[in-house]
Assembly symmetry: C3
Homo-oligomer: 305 residues x 3
Amino acid sequence: MKRSVDELTRQLLDSYHRVGGINHVDGKNLPPKVVVAQMTQAVLRLLFPGFFCEQVIHSAELELETTALMATVHRVLEGEINKSLEYLPPDGANESDLAPLATQITAHVLGRLPYVRDPLRADTEAAYAGDPAALSKEEVIVSYPFIEAVAVQRVAHELYLQGVALVPRLMTEWAHSRTGIDIHPGAQIGTHFFIDHGTGTVIGESSTIGDHVKMYQGVGLVARSLAGGQQLRGTKRHPTIGDRVTIYANATIVGGNTVIGSGSTIGANVFLMDSVPSNSLVVYEPRGMRLISKSRPEDVLDYQI
Amino acid sequence: MKRSVDELTRQLLDSYHRVGGINHVDGKNLPPKVVVAQMTQAVLRLLFPGFFCEQVIHSAELELETTALMATVHRVLEGEINKSLEYLPPDGANESDLAPLATQITAHVLGRLPYVRDPLRADTEAAYAGDPAALSKEEVIVSYPFIEAVAVQRVAHELYLQGVALVPRLMTEWAHSRTGIDIHPGAQIGTHFFIDHGTGTVIGESSTIGDHVKMYQGVGLVARSLAGGQQLRGTKRHPTIGDRVTIYANATIVGGNTVIGSGSTIGANVFLMDSVPSNSLVVYEPRGMRLISKSRPEDVLDYQI
Amino acid sequence: MKRSVDELTRQLLDSYHRVGGINHVDGKNLPPKVVVAQMTQAVLRLLFPGFFCEQVIHSAELELETTALMATVHRVLEGEINKSLEYLPPDGANESDLAPLATQITAHVLGRLPYVRDPLRADTEAAYAGDPAALSKEEVIVSYPFIEAVAVQRVAHELYLQGVALVPRLMTEWAHSRTGIDIHPGAQIGTHFFIDHGTGTVIGESSTIGDHVKMYQGVGLVARSLAGGQQLRGTKRHPTIGDRVTIYANATIVGGNTVIGSGSTIGANVFLMDSVPSNSLVVYEPRGMRLISKSRPEDVLDYQI
């Protein structure tokens, strides 16, 4: 086996030299997935004290435990922001600016945690009020995947606003992997947001979402056409959703100029490429569907394009 | 950094005092996600002996290993049921009733495991018989995500029937996170059930599903309207599916009065809000679709609402 | 509790004797999920050196580290292939043939890694070029779930071509669990492939996909009818996709004779059962949809079959 391993290794090393672009040797240190994952879990514990621990937290210990957790999160986040800034420095920054900038961004973002808790409380209330299957707000927090997804996104959004690369995306992709809900750190989301079930729901980078919006699994707020590729970076490519909008399962809404007016309802499986006014209801025509009795097999064979 | 951490911690502690509803300090002990996850994996090993272990189990060791595993599951489950009962006691129960009740429910639910194995064998057979990609029933058990999802749901359903809060939902959400399949503990599911691929499939709390039902990824059995919110708790809000029904990918079926008659087939991406008789085939009309040649770009630009 | 555990264990052991088919006692050793998962992560590190480590790899250490990792992967893969061959031996093989055959297949498949890196580089470039949200190719590799899914599938496909059972499927199901993307090891995929978001996307065993194909979340390349069940094994049951095809979110394409001509675009939520010529655009008719103002509630109540 030793000869085989040596030979196979040599061939692979040759490929490392030959095939560029997917190696990262002697490169800048990248934030590692696993470290960002652990840090993100600690951030969830800071946001929802006592909910993601194995033991009850008592008020007597709360200050001590929070200080220790905050110190850990601060140290790790500062280190990973530093790596991200070295990897993709802001325009005009000198190398000596980066470490102080990382410290400053870390303090700013962690200082936002108290303000992130306000919409998260509202989200929890919206989920409880809107889902008859929810027994209590505690059940929502400990067992609804969307809470994890939206809490992580709201913190990642703060990093995104500070121009930090990689770390916010690694945070939301961690949540995506666990929940099936893919919200880009760039999306702007109002309060009292709720995604029920959530698997397969995608909210693109330049989406804007109002207050009291409810979505289901498989909903996509996506870009219209990506033929422009990298040239479209930074443009508004994803829809704008008003207040009190409900979007049912597997509906796809496309494009940066698409505005869903407040109070509207988008039916399940609808594919929408243009704006609709406030208080609209968009559904497929029932007559677009065909109901066939299998007792007439000649009809059954007929449902083809 | 110390000063920064202290200041950030103080601000967050202030928010803990100010923002209620998403703190759990000095509260009742809640079943922790991670403990329920480990217990659920042990339950899978009890249901499918030898399939989820690193080594072959020999019949000589089977009794010893099963006894040890059962003792662990019994102890952990009893503890978590106890927490759930303290968190949400049954109507009229005294505090002193809860520990004996937890013991009784634990014994009842673990006593149901042998009976849960019957439909699971049938589910495995249905998956093998129905999927030409399956090489063997062993492959189905070790590699098909739906097996994990349906096995966990069938046990969680037993806890649900005993009125236990939190624990059954944490069990099915653990499976949801791993498989993308979200089956509420309340759903009633017949034998020979099979969900192929499964990512994004949602089966709501009051769904009823007959025997020999096959589903694909992205299928939703969901509630019609949730404007009623918490007032609808306990009502029949999700569809009833007859026997020998097939529901293709991304179909959404809505509402508590919706009955899909036995022997029916629901096409992919269909959105259905009303009942259909037995032996129906429901598909979108081919003429609802438009086939355009890109060599006529004026047509391409035309596909908007 | 001891009496209860003993009694519950006895009942379960009875069920092990009574209910066959879902026990694996004294059976052939099956490849365990957790071992295949760890090995698959190591394979990802071999394919993308330096990207999935906590520390930067320096060129001075590259040979040493790659040799050690290759030796581990070789040893584990050979062992698991051996189990798979014992479980499902090739036609006409003697038991004494299996160990040498496992060694030979291991060397062959690991010898393919350098060649798998070529399409993976192209996939990374396609993702970066096609997604304005991507800041860099490094971001694509470390944070896009599809990279994990397609890299694992391309290696699993090499095992599939050698007739190895179980191991390739366990590899792709590991990726499915983490990414929501379910690509069967049998699928043939061209270069410059990209799946954005990806949750719920399913690519069946006999799918054939050309070069420069882009897909979104919830896309299904699935089999037409599975009434034939196991009799259809080995037949072409899944679609053929030409070059430069884009398939938007939640589109479902069905059947082994279905060919999507090169240069075509399939709209979101489309359900397609027949072939379309090159350069086609397939969308639902806008007039299949209905836009209703909620200010006329009599219309709102009307959207039923």
